[in-house]
Symmetry: C3
Subunit: 635 residues, 3 copies
């Protein structure tokens, strides 16, 4: 499959006279794809049952005839006011009990039956009209599930749905739920499912089992809602269906949504994410303010490659300054090209820039486009043209299995969030720290889901922090040829968030019991023998396993043998590097410590060396300029 480019377009925002010129300029810039439609409900159905398809028909015609392939979005992220007036309780309710109303987007509760039916109806209308349209080459469901913290709703609809979900989970047996959750603890026992409350507005923290179940339920509601859209489209259309995920949205299980889709895609905003979603020092944020974090995008590329079962896109690529981060700098010259190639290096089939023309009105008026609001070329289109030219001689998409697998488990993220046991501890950060250390050592990494049953071909598999380890993954890790690295907190909880007996981790072949754990102020590092420190989180092990790393007071940190290792601590950057390097070494993986800001990525056919710095860097393949990269054919 060819590497392709695209953009996001809103014909309803512009005079119809502009459409043909826009289409022509898109084609000239080398674009293949144009995504449209995902916020246009009020123009298609301005009043209930009054449809106005003509303009959309014509715009698809204009774009398609110009040679573009249309990705058609369903408009369910922005129901019009009349929908909200018809269903006044359709809004999600926040954790403080306040409804989140009309006036922006994503103003719906996934559990509201009325809105679910409205969504199905409008999606069906779209699918019926365009399911076989020759220019519609793919679909997108909704837009950015979970953006603006929209997964968790504490509405009456959510409560009823949660009760039903729990009744199904426990076969209608309320005593089973009470036992599973340990509700006897504070007389929290229920007599029937209709007594169950949502886990908000309690006096002190609710039962973690309660919160954990609510998180699993909330994720399932997204999966079901998306599946409804997919089923509705599939009944009318055989084109592939995607959803555009976001960066560091972890409130629903992307793998499960992805299982119902052909393609994963995500919306990559490197500068916005650096300011808003990357945890790093001020120094780091200053150094990469105009380029983005060197690992954050790559990490998501690798996640979404897994979510898409190999097929993935950038549906929205930052083209210039955005409007929504605490600070919104301009990218360095060259970064739009750089980000595009970085995505291709990780296996993207398509990179679409968001958006075609900067809108002079409404919420995103300071979000750059490929064109300025006055239709002049902005920086992004210039760099896109450069990519267009470079793609002439580029190979097809050619993924290659990486030597290293890293398990990322959404449920583990929820578990840590439910019970961090110390401020600032997050599963996402633990996995990301591991990923960053591997990348600093020059590695390409495959993210794998916790449903993985076959780890063949990996020399090392890192599975940090999986608090509930399902039997399949447990088995796969045990059976792996490569080194399996567990901990901290591996298998620390059962499926209903209880501490198992025997105590964790209870892994066959590892004589380890976590007898106690402590969390520490971030200013209390514990020195390792060697480089680095334990910080924040530390488990006390009863173990007879060989000690691979220990503190200066000889407390075990990394223990194990025979391809199974357990790490008992949160490690600082140096400690993590030392741990990862040791694992690579015993696993026969060659590492190369790269300069700050330089990263390497291999496809089946190429090796890329990316310099994320704002200055030239010396690398093993020579000097690479600021915000530039080199690509070598792989031998």
């Amino acid at each position: 499959m060819k590497r392709t480019l695209g953009t996001c377009y809103y014909p309803e925002h512009w005079p119809e006279a502009l459409w043909p010129q826009d289409a022509e300029r898109m084609v000239e810039a080398g674009l293949t794809w144009v995504r449209i439609g995902e916020f246009c409900w009020s123009r298609i159905e301005p009043k209930e049952g009054e449809f106005n398809w003509d303009w959309l028909d014509r715009s698809i015609e204009v774009l398609g005839n110009a040679g573009l392939k249309v990705v058609l979005g369903t408009p369910t992220a922005t129901p019009p006011k009349w929908v909200a007036d018809k269903h006044p309780d359709m809004f999600a309710v926040d954790i403080d009990g306040k409804p989140r109303g009309f006036g922006s987007r994503r103003h719906y509760c996934f559990s509201h039956a009325g809105y679910f039916a409205e969504s199905e109806r409008i999606v069906r209308a779209f699918a019926e009209r365009y399911g076989q349209n020759p220019h519609v080459a793919a679909w997108q469901t909704d837009n950015e599930y979970g953006c603006h913290d929209t997964i968790y709703s504490y509405s009456a609809s959510a409560k009823t749905a949660f009760q039903a979900w729990l009744s199904a989970e426990f076969g209608g047996d309320i005593d089973a739920l009470n036992r599973a959750w340990g509700n006897v603890f504070w007389s929290m026992e229920y007599n029937n499912f209709s007594q169950i409350e949502l886990p908000n507005l309690t006096v002190t923290e609710p039962n973690p089992a309660h919160v954990h179940a609510f998180k699993r339920f909330s994720s399932d509601q997204v999966v079901a809602y998306n599946k409804m859209q997919v089923d509705t489209i599939r009944a009318q259309s055989d084109r592939p269906i995607a959803h555009n995920y976001m960066g560091r949205v972890t409130d629903f299980d992307h793998y499960k949504v992805g299982d119902d889709l052909e393609i994963a895609s995500w919306d990559s905003y490197p500068l916005g994410f650096l300011e808003d979603r990357v945890e790093a020092s001020d120094e780091h944020k200053r150094a990469f303010a105009h380029q983005g974090d060197p690992d954050f995008q790559a990490f998501h590329h690798d996640i979404y490659r897994a979510v898409g079962k190999g097929r993935w896109w950038i549906m929205e690529q930052q083209p210039g300054p955005v409007n929504w981060a605490p600070y919104n700098p301009s990218p360095l010259p060259g970064m739009v090209r750089f980000w595009t190639w970085e995505a291709f290096a990780h296996g993207a089939e398509a990179v679409c820039y968001f958006r075609w023309r900067q809108a002079p009105f409404a919420q995103e008026q300071l979000h750059a486009g490929m064109l300025r609001p006055d239709s002049q070329d902005a920086e992004a289109i210039v760099e896109a043209r450069q990519v267009r030219d470079e793609l002439q001689s580029a190979p097809d998409v050619a993924p290659a299995q990486a030597p290293i697998a890293l398990v990322f488990d959404y449920e583990a993220e929820w578990s840590w969030a439910v019970q961090p046991q110390g401020q600032g501890l997050s599963y996402f950060q633990l996995v990301f720290d591991t990923y960053r250390a591997l990348r600093k050592l020059g590695q390409s990494v495959d993210i794998v889901p916790p449903s993985c049953t076959d780890l063949t071909g990996y020399s090392a598999i890192f599975a940090p922090g999986i608090m509930h380890l399902n039997d399949d993954l447990k088995q796969a890790l045990s059976a792996a040829d490569g080194t399996a690295v567990y901990g901290p907190r591996t298998a620390a909880r059962d499926a209903h968030f209880n501490i198992p007996n025997p105590l964790p981790p209870a892994i066959d072949g590892l004589d380890i019991v976590v007898s106690r754990l402590e969390t520490l102020r971030p200013d209390m590092p514990i020195a390792l023998n060697g480089k680095g420190h334990v910080i924040r989180y530390f488990e006390e092990l009863n173990t007879s396993e060989p000690i691979m790393m220990e503190t200066s007071a000889n407390q075990p940190v990394l223990v194990g043998q025979n391809g199974q290792l357990y790490c008992a601590a949160w490690l600082d950057d140096d400690g993590m590097m030392a741990m990862v390097e040791q694992v690579c070494e015993i696993s026969g993986i060659t590492t190369v410590e790269l300069p700050i800001g330089v990263r390497r990525r291999e496809t089946a056919t190429e090796t890329f060396w990316f310099n994320h710095n704002s200055h030239a860097s010396e690398t093993p393949v020579g000097t690479i300029g600021a915000a530039d990269f080199v690509k070598r054919s792989r031998n």
Copy 2:
């Protein structure tokens, strides 16, 4: 007109036997004015329709007979409990949807028709009884509009009024509103005005056009409410009417309220403001903790001189420690006298101390007065007597046009608040930074409103950050004899908060297009060629204009010629000084860089040099002691 002194008095707080002694001591201390009445509703009308005027009649008589002139306040800032019980929905509702109820003050929504009518009724009753009273020499409407964040209300009353206001704004044409706001963006289009929501409790940010309109509406509601009071009083009385504004309250357009009044007045609390409302370093706050910021009061004096069209007072002057700031230090000895003279230097007709006697009860029991709670002299009365003596030989109020005008536009403040595009960016701060730099260079400054149509006589006019530049001011700036300094963000939005096409600033005679802008972390300064840095906000210009200031990478910062300059950046203190100094130089304005904490101010007859420091300072006119000043006749 003579410079006069006064105080704020609450006869209802004290035994009637004290009134004559109090009046006598006021006169002895040199006071001319006594403001009363503005919180006394529950004593005048303890139950609906049951009036009890006698005590107020008598207190006015006692004060007037002693030789004092009474400023009579309308009591609408503190409706009694029975009013609230009669109108249970009269409260403002906060942005989270919570009503702000009874138990302190300012507990009303400006849009509530029932309270509007109650207000009109009680104001009429006051005006009818005292409109011709020989001792009542002036009126004050309500008290401190906007204090305690009371302009914005998200009540049902406000929603209805907002819908009506919008319908009037758009001539009843909902499509016009949809177009003007770009509501198509996220299917936010309305079918009729009654569908319009208030811009709170949305999932993510509401449309900036929506918020901007709500801010303009909310300001208009204050103007209308005040005008109702003014009209009601005028029907019965020919005495001048004032309102007492606050420091750094910018949620309504003071010029528009001021247009309906004869006198502007404000409540000056230098120490409270330094801790609570001045953005400055800890070092600065420590240095001026006992004196107040060297520019904050002066800036407001100059604003309110504009708001009062030349006539302005201090209605409440801090007399000692207050009770409401995060920390409440004592003024240095001499500061009460100092602040009084500073106000006179900026053209005040009267300075009234708040309050006469410290109250031993209720909310302000730790707010100092001219007397202690036990009626002994506090520090303030001693210093007031000194001013009384100094005023014997002082000239009358004699304003003089300053060489420099600085535009302050409330609507621009709202626009920046709606869309700062970077944390910490505020229009108020931008204007205040400009003002401070001018003052550090020894300048006297006139603040002018954006409705200004004539800038004759100014050598330089600074108009930073006016995001919507109305045609009149645009014309006046173009036609000005002096140097007009625009930017950043000048004319960046049209009247409905859209980016104009052609792109900003689109000023005749200036070949400048802002092609892109970025905001930066505060720890990422960009060095200028010369002193200072660009910080936080930076526009990329396409321009052929001569470059007056640039960064060390030769990006243009200040450009222009022929008396029109554009500044593309937010500047740090050194950068701002360099910019302002350069403008003064090319405008033929002589500057003198004053020592830290020293400021100069000229009237038509005098030049004042104020030393705000807690230590003596060497100045061009010799050594000035701590918290002291010198006054020279102007040649």
Copy 3:
């Protein structure tokens, strides 16, 4: 009375088969007491009126037969869901108006009549069944009143009860209330008691007299609720009754609750408190992260000895890491023993460890127990056995009057909270700072309540910050043989929170008037002549008294003579040490400045030297190891 040990046990959490083994292991570990029952309502009465006593009967039998004494808790802190469903408005309402619902614990409003009746009913049922049970040796009412901020409720029930409480307070005379509160200030006058609102959701701060009354009312509601439980138990049982208080919960008057009980007890979590409730530098928190603050527990021991009128216990002693603090470190080896002995040194009759076995489920699954979740010994049981052995040769509980008294007044804490006048000023901290300084000088201290009428035998009495000084205490301080140290803010307010006239402090025999006061940023210390500084809070005195301490600018700080001193300032650590040392010296008290982290405590028979450090310390009685102590017979 012997020093004894115990634990907290939840038979309902474990299979019945485990009970006999558990009981046997408790006895083996040297435990005397086992507290049970306080969260078991849903197992006793799973549906309204359906009682299931059997399991509790049997568990008491098993425990008692093993030789343990049972402390039986009433289960009112955790009403089951059916109770909440029956009384849907029984929840406390937070200051923002949100009900705090079901799903954790303490979900009730003390003012709700329906829940009050339910509580009385279930307590009576417990008392009737077990009041004469031979194994039930003591009772505990409810659990941790005030934990999770549960004293203040802004519910409709609370409003009605507050109105009735006020009507009683003012003899039904609303004008008396208006006068007492100064409601005339902002027309806040009420016409009748039913108009009175709760002091939340006001526009700006409510009347401090209003808030102060609400705090007194809220405390009284707790006292009444507890007394109802006590009266109900007493009708059936002659066993002593305790309540388990918490650390730094000051929202109700513990003395008044304690007056109705035989025993005070408290729940001591040194590591959790250090992170969560001790105000100290990061350096201090790091130094004591694994040991706890050297004074915080001792301070509470001494408070609760006063609350218990001499009889007090630790009802819950931290046994290892807890789950609820921002960070949750492990105690150093030896700390559980150390804390136990520290409690004994302060006169504890019993120290009970919370909890017996770590629960693998629900909210506290990461709260350590004496046993691990898999029933293996955890660290705590090992150290408890050591205490068991050490107690063999220990003397009985033998309190001794200390040479120094320190008044702690809950109402003063509320007064400072109502009106701190500067950020970060808290009465608790002022008293604790005084206590810490005394301890660093080697002193044993008796805390005394403000109801104290006899101070015989004390060489010095410190009474800082008592804003309302009642006549009895005023008289007792005047009449004391020892040195009485007042101020700052002594007698600054009358009973209804007004400034008295004559001005404070108005103490017979001290010619002092506080003529003005100021609060200061924490970064503005004022140097003393000698060591230390005034910080944050400073009173200006008119006084002819001899000056004992002054600032470098000769402002008086400590003044007085003839055994009556007044301190006009908040002092930093060095200043406080200097002040306290001077007072000790003139009072004939011998001091010894102890090394950092070392403390001394005397009983009638022993002198203890505790080393709270994580390293050995040199002390006047030789080297003491980390987390260790020495005990000497007192001569």
